[in-house]
Symmetry: C2
């Protein structure tokens, strides 16, 4: 019987602001960072996860994760992994810590890191990647993962069960298809705001050559610039490739309506994060006004209650969950079930560090056991920082290849952790 | 020319869980706490504020405040206090730190603490309590305080100016009236869930004898219990005193509808925090279903975008702002303006430590310069922990007496700070 012996947390930061990888209209100089959590055990099979942040405050996120230590250290691994739903509820409902959200921000993401580390631990012990580990659970086991508190006006446990049972036939076949053909991807690599026109054009052409059927551009700082850059990109990719745009919360509601209409001729695949991410009603207004341009949001959606409302209000065409913004795999299972109930496709956010590695499990699980399809769905791909991961994502021909290694995929190489530990690692200690 | 020389942060906790003061359906054993911030200056006139939390994690909140030091330390006091709107916008828009919310939770409350400390500093230098300091600003100065980003679909700067100009006549008279008669209060002292029936009855009778025209009871754990306790309270206070109830986020939407209907015979003055505080659409549904019982929420409203939506959706009869949940006085001025635009009364939340002392300034400013009335409005009063404050609230005859001491009111006695510092102060070091 193995026991959890420790919860280690490391402040890891990559100096991405030096090259403007990741720059957008709201975040001009991010240093992609990870508050990195390790659930240590006395038999050596441990669990790793991370919360993605963009620099300063990553130490605060790490401290928030450490605060949750009493919920896991000293517990038996079998007891913990046999009831991951119970673990998630305990972590989220810790009343004194919950007050600091509630169920949002630093403490909620911290719960997510611990929950995700427990998933890595459980899936590794089962010898399965998390997507398969989830996709082979029974509908009853899956609904036990979900905290239906505050959801029942939109989705009850029984409705979720019905949904999962309806998707049960064909699971094995869809799993085989995933293993053979992978899952559709789109790429954000060409479109960061800090890039030159030449780089934008070259990367757009390369994306199409690499087999991507959709690329994404950051917009929102200057309309004339956006029109110019969209024209370059549209010319580079041709008429048949999707061209999504992402404003990273830059606009007011009325401004978003005008701006999107002024970009409509470039036929955006969607407009992403047009306005404040909390603004459910604003998204609903915008969606009606800019149709047929689809509206997408979700990377900053802070919990399942906000996801519920976006869906209830008919505010989005595409829901973009994030692996580390909410309370881990469990809350994302809830979000996938909500989206399936409302018939809205989920296309996960993955611009960050480790996000591609993690969200692929959620999307693939969805396609096998929840929505039961990849139709109208794709996972974001950004091609940097993967070299730091023990099992980096494999994207080929514009598709994510289904991961076969056990676990959640967030494990960073020990050397990379050491090199990028903030502020003592060599990458930071030698910064001019 | 004075300069900000330091931002000190102290983790202060009061062991309220030992007596169950403050217990409710979601928070069974809070230790009322303050992440206490001091803006030090080289001329000795400093600024104090705090973020209210309920125990564990107060150290995290303190660390979040300390993270904002670079925005204030080394700055000239005059420059800072001459543009408190600019300070608030810089603190909230720090892109790397903002990512950790965005604009919610620990980092947003941290911005609020620094902003509020700057208000204490500015008002003390002006020799005025914050409510008067605000109430004597011109409409132009007041709108400069507000970040209208994400609000313009509901309230523009020009509309806010019109509102404030319309309320300008009569300011001096309303200020005099406040100084003479104070502001209406209601008391939550009788109604904590952990109290015995005898204590509930005795405190309810005392509240009416003390001149309160409304009391509030915690509900939501057990319907039969709630009916019994409400009957005791209603009998104790008679038919003419208001009896508000507070479920502290305990219910699902459908459950809230049934429960409130089952308590309607006790004629609740309002049902407070019936469901999850993020659930704008749920509150709108509930409000329609339980009318004429009014719906109140707001103490966990994490920013102005959520306030905007509650008002746009017609989801509340009473908006309950909190002094430390949002980004300080500035965001609360935005919330007061939004509420005035929609004609919804604001009745601040004050169950905590230091909240009564701070929110009275916001409500009194509102009555002088924004809504221009105290009609249908009252401030929560809970009678404990005031002895720790340099200038404790004065409530008499069921009314808050207008504070005359300069500043925001959050200053805790040095001896109280020392005694309750966690975990080294004597109150904690001697805990069995």
């Amino acid at each position: 019987m193995a026991t959890i012996t420790g919860l280690d947390v490391i402040d890891v930061r990559f100096p991405t602001s030096r090259t403007l990888d990741g720059s957008d209209a709201m975040n001009p100089d991010p240093d992609y960072s990870a508050a990195y959590a390790v659930l240590r055990t006395d038999d050596g099979v441990d669990g790793h996860a991370l919360t993605f942040t963009i620099g300063r405050g990553n130490d605060l996120q790490a401290a928030a994760i450490a605060l949750l230590e009493p919920w896991v250290v000293g517990r038996e691994v079998e007891e913990l992994t046999a009831d991951l739903g119970g673990l998630a509820r305990r972590l989220v409902r810790d009343s004194q810590v919950r007050w600091l959200g509630p169920e949002k921000g630093v403490v909620h993401m911290a719960a997510g890191a611990v929950i995700n580390a427990a998933w890595d631990l459980a899936a590794r012990r089962a010898g399965l990647p998390v997507w398969q580990f989830l996709a082979r659970m029974s509908p009853e086991q899956l609904v036990d993962l979900v905290d239906f508190r505050y959801l029942t006006d939109a989705l009850t446990r029984d409705e979720a069960l019905d949904l999962l049972r309806a998707a049960a036939p064909g699971r094995a076949e869809r799993e085989r298809a995933l293993l053979e053909d992978g899952y559709p991807a789109y790429t954000t690599t060409p479109g960061w705001l800090g890039y030159t026109d030449e780089r934008l054009e070259r990367l757009s052409i390369e994306a199409v050559e690499d087999g991507f059927t959709q690329i994404k551009l950051k917009v929102g700082l200057d309309l004339a610039e956006d029109r110019r850059r969209l024209a370059i990109a549209r010319r580079a990719i041709g008429e048949d490739v999707g061209l999504a745009i992402d404003a990273n919360q830059r606009w007011e509601v009325a401004e978003a309506i005008d701006w999107v209409r002024a970009l409509a001729e470039f036929r955006p695949a969607w407009i992403e994060e047009p306005i404040n991410p909390d603004d459910v009603l604003g998204h609903a207004t915008l969606r009606r006004a800019v149709a047929p341009v689809p509206v997408a949001t979700g990377e900053h959606l802070h919990n399942r209650v906000m996801a519920k409302q976006l869906l209830q209000a008919g505010a989005v065409d595409v829901l973009q969950l994030d692996a580390t913004r909410v309370a881990g795999v469990n809350e994302n299972v809830a979000i996938l079930l909500l989206a399936a109930k409302f018939g809205v496709p989920v296309c996960p956010h993955a611009g960050g560090v480790g996000l591609c590695e993690m969200v692929q499990h959620l999307a693939m699980f969805d396609s096998v056991a929840v929505s039961g399809t990849t139709e109208g769905r794709m996972i974001e791909f950004v091609d940097h920082l993967h070299e730091h991961f023990e099992v980096p994502v494999e994207v080929s021909g514009g598709r994510y290849l289904a991961p076969r290694a056990p676990g959640l995929g967030a494990r960073i190489h020990a050397e990379s952790l050491a090199a990028h530990t903030y502020p003592t690692g060599p990458v930071w200690a030698t910064r001019d």
